[in-house]
């Protein structure tokens, strides 16, 4: 059962709340059956964007097109979108089962099919044993799964998911993420996916839209966003731990009106006394299990490096830093814009 995805186009969408601008002219086009991840700092307008697309709020300006048709004046119902609310918005007077069944029930889907689809989605999200509880008797993560399930039982043209997995544990999140990917592939519906989890954005999205202060900073494939960020902001925003953005002198490069960025995985830290490279001192060592994050201090700046799990050093220990100059990225200090050509060493 596959629904053809549709193209979702936003043109210069703007919205403010009582004078406070939440979106300042966002134009974005999401192709048929694609999944775009929307990321950005807290309060940048992601949820606002979704609620405009859903038709829950009217934009102050701009056009929303679904499948080529302007939907600005259509009600949410007519837009045929499913949405996961960041705050869940479960129906507290209904059991989990009835919450999940609700959109189908409203759409007049036959009872038998509703039951089947509810079971299916409940199994997918591990909600089967909870079907007869009310939301008040669920844990936070369980509620979030119900919220997600309520969107997933439907087969709408567009899915709008607002941080649907934020309260789930890593294992569950991984599982659900995989299921979402499968579902997306199977349904071919168009997804707009707001997330703070980079792994989600990178693995699920066809394209990532980086929002900053209500405006789009960059839209691109995950590789582009990570590998060729258009601005220092994007560079800093994606990647955990974040990119090291420092004055060139810190890395022993000639001064200039630019900052250079180096990903933590591209910075090598060596404790061997005689090793080549820039001298620095250990500031903090954070073992993460699979790897260790090492923060070093050099020329008054701090740099983070991802090292192997076994790395250990006391704070203050002298180390040597190495990196491949080709992996450096340069950004104008003033504007934050990427300096092109940026390939040469």
């Amino acid at each position: 059962m596959s629904v053809a995805g549709v193209r979702l186009e936003l043109e210069s969408l703007a919205k403010s709340y009582g004078g406070v601008p939440a979106l300042r002219g966002v134009s974005l086009s999401v192709g048929d059956g694609k999944l775009v991840a929307v990321v950005g700092p807290s309060g940048c307008g992601k949820s606002t964007l979704l609620s405009l697309v859903a038709g829950l709020d009217a934009p102050d300006a701009g056009v929303i097109r679904i499948d080529g048709r302007v939907v600005n004046d259509l009600s949410p119902r007519e837009r045929d979108v499913a949405m996961v609310f960041q705050s869940y918005a479960l129906y507290p007077h209904m059991t989990v089962r009835r919450n999940l069944a609700f959109p189908l029930d409203v759409a007049g889907v036959p009872r038998r099919e509703i039951a089947a689809r509810v079971e299916e989605v409940a199994a997918l999200l591990g909600l089967a044993p909870l079907l007869d509880r009310r939301p008040a008797a669920l844990s936070g993560g369980q509620r979030q799964r119900v919220a997600l399930g309520r969107a997933l039982v439907r087969r709408p043209k567009v899915f709008l998911l607002d941080e649907p997995l934020s309260n789930l544990d890593a294992a569950l999140r991984l599982g659900v993420r995989a299921e979402l990917k499968k579902l997306h592939e199977r349904l071919g519906a168009t997804f707009v996916y707001v997330t703070h989890d980079q792994a989600e954005a990178m693995t699920l999205a066809d394209r990532i839209a980086v929002l900053r202060d209500g405006a789009l900073e960059q839209v691109g494939t995950p590789r582009e966003i990570y590998g060729a960020p258009a601005t220092a902001f994007v560079a800093r925003f994606v990647g955990t731990p974040p990119v090291n953005l420092v004055a060139p002198e810190v890395l022993g490069l000639p001064e200039g009106p630019i900052d250079v960025a180096l990903r933590p995985e591209d910075l090598r830290v060596s404790r061997e006394a005689g090793a080549a490279g820039l001298a620095a001192r250990v500031w903090l060592v954070e073992p993460m299990g699979s790897e260790t994050w090492v923060t070093v201090e050099r020329a008054g700046a701090r740099l983070v490096a991802r090292c192997e799990a076994a790395f250990d050093a006391p704070p203050g220990a002298p180390v040597r830093l190495g990196f491949d100059p080709r992996r450096l990225q340069r950004f104008e200090r003033e504007t934050g814009r990427r300096v092109v050509p940026d390939r040469p060493g």
Binding site: Y17, T48, S51, L56, D57, S75, R77
Partner: protein, 290 residues
């Protein structure tokens, strides 16, 4: 449905209620307003336009001014007492675990009892000669009805007895809408039970309190039955409220123009009280988040 469509739907939903109000309430209002500008005493065959003369007459009418004062006093004291008494009661009803249904129903009975009966019951209990109270406490509370300065308090007392459940019920409905999480959070934040009440419950109860205040003070301002049964406005008009004065003027004395003017003044007072409450306690609600 577009925003416009939604607004049209909204108008359609509001229309029946608005029509019901206009049809049955607005007509009489206008009729009364018109009447108040006339001198009309059918039994004397009088009926002519006199402009604001009726109002002018009221301005110098000692009985009217007395009734106005009685009504205002009655309203202020009765509503204040009802609110003060109803709030703890509503909280208790809200928190009573087992047997909640029973106690809620029990508390409601005074209010369900027809006003005439309730007032007669109290008239009997307060009868200065034979009443239960007079027997227990002769010349004290038992004699209130005979004392011009106290009789109004008896009416207030009966009103409080009868109407506190109504206020408690309104407040209870408000209490039920307050999320429990907030009180929990406040307790973890170190607030005592009293502080939770003052800082969380009370502010969130404000709309319900406003509602209770509004409806009660407007209703109390039109008090009739209780006084009518208890004292008929006596002794010497000291307990006569505006509505009773209007009633007598309109129907007993048959002076329709003047009665209409009294009614209209009562009405205007009521409107003023309502506006005062709304502006004093009106909600300032923030815009809502996406």
């Amino acid at each position: 449905m577009s925003a416009r469509g939604e607004r049209r739907l909204g108008a359609a939903l509001v229309a029946p209620a608005g029509a019901a109000l206009a049809l049955v309430a607005l007509g009489p209002l206008l009729a009364t307003a018109w009447l108040s500008l006339r001198h009309r005493v059918p039994v004397l065959g009088e009926d002519r336009f006199v402009g604001l003369a009726n109002y002018g007459a009221l301005a110098h009418d000692a009985r009217f001014l007395g009734a106005l004062a009685n009504t205002a006093y009655f309203t202020a004291l009765a509503v204040a007492l009802e609110l003060v008494l109803a709030l703890p009661l509503a909280l208790a009803l809200h928190h009573a675990g087992r047997g909640r249904g029973g106690i809620r129903a029990a508390v409601l009975v005074p209010w369900i009892l027809p006003t005439v009966v309730a007032a007669k019951l109290w008239a009997l209990l307060l009868q200065p000669d034979l009443g239960l109270l007079a027997r227990i406490w002769p010349d004290g509370a038992g004699a209130v009805l005979t004392r011009p300065r106290l009789a109004l308090h008896a009416a207030i007392f009966v009103d409080v007895w009868k109407t506190t459940p109504f206020v408690a019920l309104l407040l209870l409905a408000g209490l039920q809408a307050i999320p429990e999480d907030l009180a929990r959070a406040a307790r973890v934040d170190g607030a005592s039970a009293l502080r939770v009440f003052r800082s969380i419950t009370l502010p969130l109860l404000r709309p319900a309190i406003l509602l209770a205040l509004l409806f009660r003070s407007l209703d109390a301002f039109r008090v009739f039955d209780v006084v009518f049964v208890l004292t008929e406005g006596g002794p010497g008009h000291t307990t006569e409220p505006l509505s009773l004065y209007a009633y007598r003027t309109l129907l007993r004395a048959g002076s329709f123009g003047l009665g209409a003017a009294i009614s209209l003044v009562t009405f205007l007072c009521v409107v003023a009280i309502g506006l005062a409450w709304l502006s004093a306690l009106g909600e300032r609600r923030p815009a809502e988040a996406p």
